[in-house]
Symmetry: C2
Subunit: 484 residues, 2 copies
């Protein structure tokens, strides 16, 4: 394809796409094809993860110099962890600011999937907005992939609000999840459009696992907690606008609200997964604002074949608006995100296996956790048949500090950490959240640390003993590894 | 004093005071006196640290059940670290939200130092605002300490803007550092005022050390960096509104701007220390917005005896407005905060010595670092005559993750980490920031970790080897402690 030939070695591309939705497909494929005979390397910026195996193929063919701000592909992850390509893991609300301020590399080509381009210069995105508006604004050239697969009823769902430069901008005039404050498409200087490519290809379906017994228990505990908040007068049965992170556990937890008494709910989130539409179908959710729509194949068929039914209850926004601290705090969101591991003081690792190997990235979890009314993290208490405890003495990587974590929920129960000092948090976390097979081992660590004192008692020589047990013996269980 | 007798065991007090400025003095003293014969325990909430030895005396007399959100007193710190009292270390912008939402204990008495109470029900604070406005709004009773020591010209300097509840509030209509958006005092229901106590007592002077050779070198490196930003077109010589953290190093760095070519500067910070007024005196700073004025004895005499000279260039705001993510991001601050230690990937520990013992608290550093245009951390590369390296393989406590740290400066140089992947950051941090006596040891760790791979290469079994060396041998120098 001609468009792929315009791209030169060392250039920086801004691709549309957020959590497998609305990604540019044709030009990246053509670029992969070209690279087989004409190897080049480029920087690839996106909204979040891509679908259509684009990250996989680009990684396989060694196309990527530097990738940001998020990915979720196994092949790419392996190359990142081997040091064969660079990855910058960013808060999803930060990337646009860095591009706007000319801190990152200048974007040579913005490659944007669209459902339409209007005569007056609006590019209407498809199933995600991501960082596309800042890519279009700052890129030297724009290539549009006009994808006829998506339903035309998507037109009018987007609300594109462009922030000005820091120091020169206004407040963002959004007070309710359904406020429309921008334009239905991305304003573009038509002279910047170097090419338009026609495509007809669906997004990749989401990969989330269905709810299981443990995720249902997590949802039940979360609902218990929310009921106590209502009983205390801090919430009503309408709760507060909900954010739910990417992934199976967070989706399953949201799904659990289907059988709750809560009603007239609102969503102000990044990705709108199956559970959001199930809740709309059930009449539980009155409005959902997000940055992308990422659905399983079955749900996608339902939703996009009947999109008229949903379009008045949806807005898709740029990710710096869906994830903006200003709005998250103003609206007072209830944020539900997934932890990889948590420690006995409530610090959360969302990204790094054994402190070293990247899974996907922090995504928007930091934007939400820091600024939400209620910052909730969910995780199963064990993984790999109990060989791994998700509750550890000291997390091997910190993405969210104890300051930003209000409530943690596992299938064992919930721990409400608000207003608690470290010495109050640790016993509660161990009691309420840890799996019975790890409780004694955690208590042993805590009591030994406690004897040494400190505001946050720790034994640095044994802080990673769980992880080191796993590396040496294939399980975190066992006595604590001692220093020489 | 009668007022102290109203306070009952188990009550929660909200005291005015932020970094030794504008703290309630008489009632806490009377309470300490009473506790000698009538022991009671209370929860103590403040803006930030107190002066006048109030924290010291309360700690000595075992008066405090739970203290939040910040303290900086040696005696209190010792009791906290021994587990003899509880301390909750919070982002300084978060406390008011938790009180407003009825998450923390209900405040029985707000005890507020004031310079005046107006007939129409405004309490005019003295040298700090801190959390006083939310304390007054939510407390059952209010006691006012009318302190005649402070200059009456302080009236009119404050700008009290009260946020509504989350989900019901408006945007905060502040676009420039000198915008006035509120009232000159704290609105109070006069029926809630249970007593007024007359006092005449100065604030405690600040305890900051004067600039030294290393802090001057840090300032010089920072100025170099800022010059490069100007050369690149990302900043002008007016820079951007500056925030500078509490403490000697940050104050010295700001002081270093005196000899720079930058002019027409603006400050949007928490505490306004000596350096801010030196910069105003030198005609470098045109306006300063803060939450408190904390000065050395000498500077305080200068400033408060000539306050007319300054009052049109100053605003004092509640700490949730000085530290609000919404405003920090809108204005695009340059945030300069102090690190206790940083690791080779750019994570920052601001609070915990050896991961266990609390120094002061995270304060507002998280509010600023996460949301600033430029998040800068400063520290000397070594402490205790080189026995401690401030650059370590893995910080023993994480207050700021790599995502929130743009630039780190030591007396050795600066490292600009923006847009860099972990494997780019580590060599740069070691090369530019570490003291020569620790460079080889850090490189050795990094290269051994690199051989094992990972997005963020680490050796969990040696991650705390620097800290363990220090515990065992009194210095971080030496070979890495090995696991058994």
């Amino acid at each position: 394809m001609e468009a792929a030939s315009w791209i030169e070695d060392g250039m920086t591309l801004g691709l549309s796409g957020f959590t497998r939705a609305g990604d540019a497909k044709a030009v990246p494929y053509a670029l992969v094809g070209r690279s087989k005979t004409d190897p080049i390397k480029v920087n690839v910026y996106t909204g979040a993860s891509l679908g259509s195996d684009v990250d996989k193929l680009m990684a396989e063919h060694g196309l990527v110099l530097k990738r940001l701000p998020f990915q979720a592909d196994k092949t790419m992850r392996n190359r990142i962890n081997k040091g064969e390509m660079l990855f910058v893991d960013q808060h999803l609300s930060h990337t646009a600011e860095l591009i706007r301020a000319d801190v990152l590399e200048t974007i040579d080509y913005a490659i944007i999937e669209a459902i339409a381009i209007t005569e007056d210069g609006l590019i209407v995105p498809t199933t995600s907005v991501g960082n596309s508006s800042i890519f279009v604004e700052k890129a030297k050239h724009v290539i549009v992939e006009l994808n006829t697969f998506h339903p035309s009823e998507l037109v009018g769902v987007h609300d594109i609000y462009q922030l000005g430069k820091q120091g020169e901008r206004n407040w963002v005039p959004l007070k309710k999840v359904d406020d429309r404050i921008g334009t239905p498409g991305i304003r573009v200087d038509l002279n910047k459009i170097k090419g338009i490519v026609m495509t007809n290809q669906s997004d990749s379906p989401s990969l989330i696992a269905p709810p299981d017994e443990e995720t249902q228990q997590i949802a039940d505990h979360l609902i218990d907690f929310l009921r106590k908040e209502i009983a205390s007068g801090r919430l009503t049965e309408r709760l507060a606008p909900l954010q739910s992170g990417i992934g199976s556990v967070a989706n399953a937890v949201l799904h659990g609200l289907l059988s709750s008494e809560f009603s007239d709910l609102e969503i102000y989130s990044e990705v709108l997964q199956d559970a959001v539409f199930d809740l709309i179908d059930a009449g539980k959710v009155r409005f959902a604002s997000g940055c992308s729509i990422t659905l399983s194949e079955e749900k996608a068929n339902d939703v996009f074949n009947n999109f008229d039914k949903y379009r008045n209850q949806l807005i898709l926004r740029p990710q710096e608006i869906s994830n903006l601290p200003e709005i998250i705090r103003r609206l007072g969101l209830i944020a539900i995100n997934t932890a990889l591991e948590v420690d006995i003081y409530g610090n959360v690792n969302s990204t790094h296996v054994l402190g070293m190997n990247m899974m996907n990235g922090i995504g928007g979890s930091g934007d939400f956790a820091r600024n939400a009314r209620l910052s909730i993290f969910v995780t199963k208490s064990i993984a790999k048949d109990g060989k791994i405890s998700s509750i550890v003495p000291f997390v091997s990587h910190v993405d969210h500090t104890e300051h930003d974590v209000d409530v943690i929920v596992t299938e064992q129960g919930y721990a409400d950490l608000r207003g608690l000092a470290p010495r109050e948090r640790a016993p509660l976390i161990i009691e309420k959240l840890a799996h019975p097979m790890y409780k004694q081992q955690l208590l042993h660590y805590y009591h030994e640390a406690l004897a040494k004192g400190g505001h946050t008692p720790h034994l640095l020589e044994k802080a990673f003993s769980f992880h080191l047990n796993f590396v040496k013996h294939g399980t975190m269980q066992g006595k604590m590894v001692q220093m020489a």
